[in-house]
Symmetry: C2
Subunit: 322 residues, 2 copies
């Protein structure tokens, strides 16, 4: 059982049913859930004005919780970067608070990494992760729009992080990925810092004081609602800035909720990956189960990892993290 | 009468009627139009594969034309940045070829600026600018979807550039802009390099070798189809990177074709501008008639300009450019 502090650093929570389901789910799992007083605040599109959200983040840092969990992403942390309580955030992590979130939260995670070695967790948010409606709810209500409740793999990974048993993750690579690895050692990286998150948020830190200058790392990226040409433009910026060539490997997670159109004529996300590989010696692996999709592993941003490929299996290993 | 070379460096031309109308319009204006052999090439979403588009750009540079005009923007120049014939582009400009375009073309313009003092023109593209259907065409065809033909102001500005008579531009400021200028001199900038273009394309060059390190400049920005929160995120990146504070003034052009939604609750583009001004001492002027809208002035990217505000009128002056 863990003490989980739930707070809202970014967008306003509009789906209160998902919010309540998420809290109930965490409680059912045996956790003690502490809800920030402004978790449901709303101002314009944000979960309260900038001062309100800053104060919520400060309370999360002071909570002494085992896990500080965002309610949702959206947009809002970019506005707070110059004022974020970086030392308090790092100190909370040192004292054992695991910062968990994704999407907009990426900028806080990478900002911490730019300022030191603080490890945070790329993982679910309360509403989309733990608040996913289950089959019973869906059947009662408006039909089976979203069936199944929280994803079992995500829940198991979260449990592992909370209990300190999280040691790594693995997934099955597409055959074409394996073909591109011919001639490389199975062990693609050793003691390499793992970093990344949402591609647009990673991009948004380039040239700012919160950009982490990671060399020899394993960079993971995911995106939602962006057409492949926009994904390519962002990847090319990272390529042209020299960021990709300085890594040991690039891991592409889930790229979801975009739509090809009649103008594309065969241009697809697979073509983007192919084009990227043609310009980069660093291996690019796809299919990492992380992104704006229910099945999401938890990844320790800032931790040193080993990356191995055994047959069609990719493994990212970080040992025990306490 | 000018020699105008029409070529396609970015997206494939799909609207062939607009393409034909644009050429006819330029011819009616008395110009000699030379069409690149691959102006209508198509490969995936691009106007030909990368080698095809590079060759078209090289032909435009070698054409000796008075104006090299893109058929359209879209996406594609980011892929060519490492291979673009920068010297040939600059030499063509020195010999009198005016490079004209906008949107995706921004990266070529700023890349040239990063490598030297080459002046290019932010202005229309063939299809959207000169190929706009006029009232008669619309009445004949599918109804008055787009009435009016090419914008008169754009045509007049284009004529001025072609004849060497272009000296500056002016527009009427919103009253709230004027209020923010209280206490400042009327002459906001002298001999300041004018630069900018499409915001997403400007952003996409940050931290790359094609980023122009302009200090004491006048930076203009426009955007299309981006929600205000995304515009804000891009502006904040430029702010956090120190780019905005190094300029004499920021000119915001047209921000078009986005949609607010129920989640915004009073968050608007005006709020984004207000938020930006609260964090920046440099004056921010809005309403510049430039962007993805028919009324578009031509702006000399890389030229030295004076910026004046007289009452509600803003003036950007560059004197004669030959």
């Amino acid at each position: 059982m863990a003490h989980i502090y739930v707070y809202s650093p970014s967008g306003a929570v509009r789906d209160r049913a998902a919010f309540r389901r998420g809290i109930k789910r965490l409680q059912t799992m045996g956790h003690e859930v502490e809800v920030d007083p402004d978790a449901l605040a709303a101002w314009q599109r944000f979960a309260g004005d900038d001062a309100t959200r800053l104060a919520a983040i400060e309370r999360a840092a002071a909570s002494g919780a085992d896990v500080a969990l965002i309610t949702r992403g959206g947009y809002g942390l970019s506005r707070l970067l110059p004022q974020l309580p970086w030392r308090a955030l790092a100190r909370a992590a040192e004292r054992g608070t695991r910062w968990v979130g994704f999407s907009d939260f990426t900028v806080l995670q990478l900002g911490l990494l730019a300022r030191g070695q603080t490890v945070t967790w790329a993982g679910p948010a309360l509403c989309e992760g733990f608040g996913a409606s289950d089959a019973a709810d869906a059947a009662e209500g408006h039909g089976a729009v979203k069936a199944g409740g929280p994803d079992e793999i995500m829940l198991a990974c979260f449990d592992d992080v909370v209990s300190g048993a999280s040691e790594g993750t693995g997934w099955r690579l597409p055959a074409r990925d394996v073909a591109t690895l011919a001639g490389r050692p199975a062990h693609l990286a050793r003691h390499a810092p793992l970093w990344g998150g949402n591609l647009a948020m990673v991009q948004s830190l380039l040239a700012t004081p919160w950009w982490p200058e990671v060399k020899g790392g394993v960079l993971f990226l995911e995106e939602v609602g962006e057409h492949p040409y926009r994904v390519e433009r962002m990847l090319l910026q990272l390529l042209h800035a020299g960021v990709l060539a300085r890594q040991k490997a690039i891991l592409l997670g889930q790229f979801t909720d975009y739509r090809l159109n009649g103008h594309d004529r065969g241009y697809t996300l697979a073509k983007v990956v192919e084009q990227l590989r043609s310009q980069l010696k660093v291996p690019v692996l796809t299919g990492l189960p992380f992104g704006h999709a229910p099945t999401k592993v938890l990844l320790p941003v800032g931790a040193e990892v080993d990356l191995l490929v055994e047959g069609r299996e990719a493994l990212v290993l970080w040992g025990h993290m306490h």
